[in-house]
């Protein structure tokens, strides 16, 4: 069923789900929603399964026209959403009428908003996922970002979604300073003590080269023992790669599956949504945690998701 016409796509609007797994061994990144917290909550708000295909809207500029009555929810970055020019509530579900124009005109905070639609956005699955990997033209809407005039389809609305609102205490605040928790490794032994200490004690700034593949940071240079080259190996989500120039790059969902530069640490899973909402100019510092602490954080995160679910459907 036709659900939206793209009036303006904005700088980068793509269809994403939770990503594709099993294909990294063939060089295919997972892709998927970069902020999976806002993405999952958006779907819960409209009565979808957590991983239903939605729109990831990067920075302001996107404008859509509803082609039928449909329930939606907006979560993630504050892009001053409006419906027919009137402010639209976010982090809650609401009904759009046929002909309504939904706009995301201005950036207030964060970087990426998610638009969930009851029944999910419908596109053919490629390698079992709806996610768009634009660099290789794989998945989503013809493998590419949305363009003016595109018509989006949704699956039939099976759930009778009622209006649901995210409890305000669970709505994240997107600041301009982010502390990212990291686990050292796999190549922390290829850095000097001074290098590790620079990494953990300095403030870095998100450069303009920051996208779904990775965020290049600017700041103090991290010292290697003997050089930045390694025998190429896999790259986990959130890995912090330090090439020869000593400046860290946080690698994200569209990262290459393998690489030949030293990786000093890996961002813990629960902090990926926070880097996802960072934008050029934001400040970042790194805090070391261990594996056990990271798993405790992850358990809390998933418990919170369960709590949200039970409160939405109470």
């Amino acid at each position: 069923m036709e659900v939206f016409e793209v009036i303006q796509p904005g700088p980068l609007t793509t269809i994403q789900d939770l990503g594709r797994s099993g294909y990294q061994q063939f060089g295919v990144p997972t892709s998927g929603a970069l902020d999976n917290y806002a993405f999952r909550v958006g779907n819960l708000l409209v009565g979808n399964a957590e991983g239903a295909a939605s729109l990831e809207i990067t920075l302001p500029g996107c404008q859509l026209r509803a082609l039928r009555e449909t329930m939606i929810a907006i979560a993630g970055a504050e892009l001053a959403a409006t419906i027919n020019g009137e402010p639209a509530s976010v982090w809650e579900s609401r009904l759009l009428k046929r002909g309504d124009v939904l706009s995301f005109p201005r950036l207030n905070s964060g970087c990426r908003a998610y638009l969930a639609v009851t029944g999910s956005i419908a596109v053919p699955l490629v390698m079992q996922s709806a996610s768009t990997y634009t660099r290789a033209g794989i998945g989503g809407f013809g493998g590419r970002p949305l363009r003016k005039g595109d018509i989006l389809q949704s699956n039939k609305n099976t759930a009778s979604a009622k209006v649901a609102r995210m409890p305000s205490e669970y709505i994240p605040v997107y600041g301009n300073r982010i502390a990212l928790r990291v686990i050292l490794g796999p190549q922390d032994d290829l850095f000097t003590e001074e290098g590790i200490s620079t990494f953990l004690s300095s403030e870095y700034i998100v450069s303009t080269q920051a996208d779904r593949m990775g965020y290049r940071l600017e700041g103090p240079r991290i010292q290697h023992r003997e050089g930045a080259d390694i025998i190429s190996d896999g790259i986990p989500l959130g890995a912090i790669q330090v090439p020869g120039d000593g400046l860290p790059i946080i690698l994200l969902v569209d990262r290459q599956t393998t690489g030949g530069y030293t990786k000093i640490a890996t961002t813990v899973s629960v902090d990926i949504p926070r880097i996802a909402q960072a934008k050029p100019g934001d400040k970042i510092n790194f805090q070391q945690v261990d594996e056990e602490q990271a798993v405790t954080l992850l358990k809390k995160y998933e418990q919170q998701m369960e709590t949200i679910k039970s409160r939405l459907y109470a």
Binding site: S21, D233, V295
Partner: protein, 243 residues
């Protein structure tokens, strides 16, 4: 060289590296492949996927289903029994290539750099058996080992903006194939009509880490015929099992 004890390296809270040796070496890489196979076969709960590389396997797992220590223990047991597990045979895949001319604009340059004739470069390039150490860089891109040093040629000083899909090139002592159109600095000596990667095919990549390939020279006419067969879905990949 293969380590006596594998090294477990942190890949954060959802992934772990198992490093099996200290060099780019067919024996080490064979062990990586065996380990990946053994993990798949063991069906360890909570394992999501794994990515083989030259000398290590990166395994993604679901930490709320299996803890990292539990996972390391399960892998330790597998490593013990690795030699005895029934491993699938390796494949040797033939990649047809049209060398030179518009298909390989840098063939003459590689020839003069190597003090060989163009035919000599082709003979050397198409007579070796190459190990696919891993797939990475872009979907379906093979990292190959086994090229003769006699035809090693440095990259172009200025990369080309567009290299057609299927281009076969040389960069330093490596050879490779571009699965998709891409910018790049490799010296392009030929092109294959095969589609190394196709997103809607299962598996999407013809090549897999641990397999071998050879290049077989074909004429431009044969190139067109094969390309048409690939397009219509009637092309049969030439492959065989090897020990």
């Amino acid at each position: 060289m293969i380590y006596e004890e594998p090294r477990f390296l942190s890949g954060g809270d959802r992934a772990i590296f198992i490093e099996l040796g200290d060099s780019i070496d067919p024996d080490v890489n064979q062990r990586v492949r065996n380990l990946q196979f053994a993990i798949e076969k063991a069906g360890i709960p909570g394992v999501v996927e794994s990515v083989p590389a030259y000398r290590s396997l990166l395994v993604y797992f679901e930490p709320l289903h299996i803890s990292a220590p539990e996972f390391r223990e399960a892998i330790g047991d597998l490593l013990q029994s690795l030699t005895s597990s029934e491993l699938p045979k390796r494949r040797l895949i033939e990649i047809p290539v049209t060398y030179g001319g518009e298909f390989g604009p840098d063939l003459e340059l590689v020839a003069s750099h190597s003090n060989l004739s163009a035919a000599g470069v082709v003979r050397i390039h198409s007579s070796a058996r190459y190990l696919i150490y891993m797939i990475g860089f872009m979907p379906g891109f093979p990292y190959l080992g086994g090229m003769s040093p006699d035809i090693a040629t440095p990259r172009k000083t200025t990369p080309r903006l567009k290299i057609p899909a299927g281009s076969v090139g040389i960069a330093g002592n490596q050879t490779g194939i571009y699965p998709a159109e891409s910018p790049g600095g490799w010296q392009i000596i030929g092109r294959t009509p095969l589609e190394l990667f196709h997103p809607t095919r299962e598996p999407p990549s013809i090549l897999q880490a641990g397999d071998y390939l050879t290049f077989a020279g074909v004429t431009p006419d044969e190139f067109d015929t094969i390309k048409e067969a690939v397009r219509s879905g009637t092309y049969r990949l030439r492959e065989k099992s090897i020990e």
